[in-house]
Symmetry: C2
Subunit: 195 residues, 2 copies
């Protein structure tokens, strides 16, 4: 492409929805979403079946950005331990922003209280991708129970991001150092280059 | 007292509000809260300033029950490590219920997205009491950094309860064993009787 395409109504609506839902919750009304996006309700209903569909699509549209933010590029860093800790370092950087409200996927799932909601399903897939990344790196490092280590890391990630998001915690190294202790306990010590 | 007092309108309203908010979120309307409690809106407004006040009072009323559920009675068990793990054992039992939706305090804070909301403040105090319990036991055991250990345990508690509440995780020992690893790493090993 030689030019940057102007965002479509669909993309504008989803970006505005993602932003507003992150700040105000999934209870944000259709009118507010359309107003923030600068699209008419008629346009919205031509693009989406309704608010549940907008919620799900807005979360799905965020996933590539969140993955790029949190998950290291191939080989940089190279060692499984460093690659796992990279995620927690990025979390701590994001959580230091005054705009941070925790993980948007976890928040949507907590707010919707319905694992069967289409937006909950999108959020669950996004979270599972992170757990799968932890597990793949743990497997590469040859730890005894990579799935178990990945689940431990996932609860640290979600607990740290939630507590930072509600302003109960200023992480300041807490997420990284707690993850590092769990890596130590799993035998994935500093300096291991991975297999 | 020789008789059990009939619950007041205030208590009925707060219990119904707590139950409904836990299942449906803080966005539950005043009409639904009054209907579930069997009190008129007029009565509600005689008792409370408005919905924010009901939310805060409903969370505050839950705190003694949650403390009794999660925090061990004095001396039973006696050792700091066992007393800390008791909390995670109770969490795992609670999370095994199909009705479990995670910690009501954390959920309210995530949903309200406003640490200055009166209900967020009540919830934050409830959560802080648990972190304070962890810290007091860690101090009693003589660990080097009791405040840091307590913060690690708090993120494991919140991550485990949130992931169980949204059905991303069936804990099945995960919260207890992860907390135990962090106690090990802090030098609070099994068998330590505390000072």
């Amino acid at each position: 492409m030689t030019t940057t395409a102007k965002p479509s109504s669909r993309d504008r609506l989803l970006d505005a929805a993602a932003e507003l839902i992150y700040r105000q919750g999934v209870g944000t009304g259709i009118d507010a979403l359309c107003k923030a996006a600068g699209v008419s309700k008629r346009s919205m209903y031509q693009l989406f079946d309704g608010k549940d569909d907008v919620l799900a699509a807005a979360l799905a549209r965020q996933e590539p950005r969140l993955t790029a933010l949190l998950v290291p590029p191939p080989g940089k860093p190279a060692a499984p331990r460093d690659r796992i800790l990279y995620v927690f370092q990025r979390l701590e950087e994001a959580a230091a922003s005054p705009d941070y409200r925790g993980c948007p996927f976890l928040a949507a799932q907590v707010e919707l209280k319905d694992p069967g909601h289409p937006a909950s399903a999108v959020a669950a897939r996004g979270k599972q991708a992170l757990t799968d990344f932890f597990q793949a790196e743990a497997e590469r490092a040859g730890v005894a129970e990579p799935g178990l280590l990945a689940r431990r890391l996932a609860i640290v990630y979600d607990g740290a991001s939630a507590r930072a998001g509600i302003r109960s915690e200023v992480l300041d190294g807490l997420a990284v150092s707690t993850a590092a202790l769990l890596l130590d306990a799993a035998g994935l010590a500093a300096g291991d280059a991975g297999s």
